[in-house]
Every structure is written in C-alpha cells, then in structure tokens.
Symmetry: C2
Subunit: 136 residues, 2 copies
C-alpha cells in the first residue's frame, strides 16, 4: 500500500483552501506551549505523517519547508489532529531547541498590554547561531 | 483617547491578509488546551481588546461573530499575543463550557492514527442543547 493510500482518510478530511493550503498550529506536546502557526499543502501533510518530522509549505519560497533543515531546530510529530470542519490542523510535537527564527522558544512573544505590545519572552539563542551570517 | 488610538500599536503589528483577516488561535489559559482557530478582522480585534470577550469574523456569515452569543459558550480574553511576523494571533482565554459546535471542549478531536482518523474527545453537551433545533 502506498503512503498516499495509507493517509487517504486524513487527507480526505482536510479542506485545503483555494491555494491548496491548510493552517497548522504547532504545540509542544507535554507543556502545552503554542509554538507557531504555519501552512501545509497536501505533500507536506503526507511527508509529515510519513517521516514524523514536521514539514510545512513555505508561501514565500513556494516549496516544502522541512522545519529545522537549516537551523537544526526540528519538530518531531507526536500527533496530528484535524478540527471539526477540517480547515485547521493541530500538530502536537516535540520541538528541538526553539521554534522562532528570532531564537525564542515560541513565535508568540509579544503581548497586547496597556494599549501597547510587550515582549514576554527572551531569545534563548541568537539568530546568527541558528542561521549563520544571514537569516535564510 | 479613542479605543482605536488605544489599540493602535497592536493593530499596527498585525499583518492582515488580502481579505483583511488574520487567523486567531484560542487556547485555554490555564490548561494549555488548544480549543479552536478562527479569523479576525480589524473590528474584531478592537472589539475583543475593548470588551475582553472574544469576537471573531465569520467568513461564511460575512460579519462579526461574538463567540457564545447564540450558544452561551463565551470566551473571556486573558491575553492576546501577536507572533513574530504579525500574521497570526494567539488568544489565551477562559472558555465557558465548550468551544466546538459539536459540543466538545475543543474542535481538535480527530487524531490521525494508524492511517485513519480516531475521535479522541466526546461531546460534553448536545448541539441541540447549545443551539436549539437547528445549528445556527
């Protein structure tokens, strides 16, 4: 049986948008921390379920984005969940290191407080350490 | 100072998409449970920050969607966070009752397991109890 046939029930339940994409929320499986939100196409869903390493679709680079391929900050899939109407995925993962390209554990580090935005998390590593001289 | 001026820093940090919308993830603030994902427009963000009750934008009804207005299952805002590139919001909330129109606590109740989808949460209330005779 091919991988596509194996994952047919999951793929059938997902309502990809007009661009063939679905939003995917990554959450650290044990702490509950919401790490990031990115997009997946059909191939990214199949690759993620097959390899158990999270692969997104990069809208800016127009291609598969194997999280951590450049930075080493990979996400290991524990469980993929599909929401009630099939238009959002929740990925319960183990995040190696940090999820955010700024070096913070989570991308959600700016909180709306007192009419402004306050940074509520510090970088754990420098972007230079993650990506070398340029962020790519 | 108007409410718009009060929330200007937050609104300026959000990159609304071509349809004027931004995805918003709702998470129960104390348990970490991811409840749902929906969309907000500018007015929904302002109303949510002003009233501290979560208001989305319904793409199907093309209007503001005050969560719980029909069902009583309101979401009280504890904190709104903006991600690193401003294109996703995380709402840390207190969810009254259930978030999902199926009567389940969370919309993410179908898990990809063994090549299929398995329901991992039961309804806590019936949709009829939430919405009366028809779901609307």
């Amino acid at each position: 049986m091919s991988e596509h046939a194996t994952h047919a029930a999951v793929l059938d339940a997902i309502r990809f948008d007009a661009n063939g994409l679905v939003p995917a929320i990554a959450q650290q499986h044990d702490t509950g921390e919401v790490l990031m939100m990115a997009w997946m196409n059909r191939d990214a869903v199949i690759e993620t379920l097959t390899t158990r390493r999270v692969c997104y679709y990069s809208r800016s680079r127009k291609g598969l984005w194997r999280k951590g391929e450049t930075s080493g900050q990979t996400q290991h899939l524990h469980e993929m969940l599909v929401d009630c109407d099939g238009d959002t995925l929740l990925l319960r993962v183990h995040q190696e290191g940090v999820a955010c390209h700024t070096g913070r554990r989570t991308c959600f580090f700016r909180a709306a407080r007192d009419g402004g935005l306050v940074e509520v998390a510090e970088p754990l590593v420098s972007p230079e350490a993650l990506y070398g001289h340029s962020h790519g």
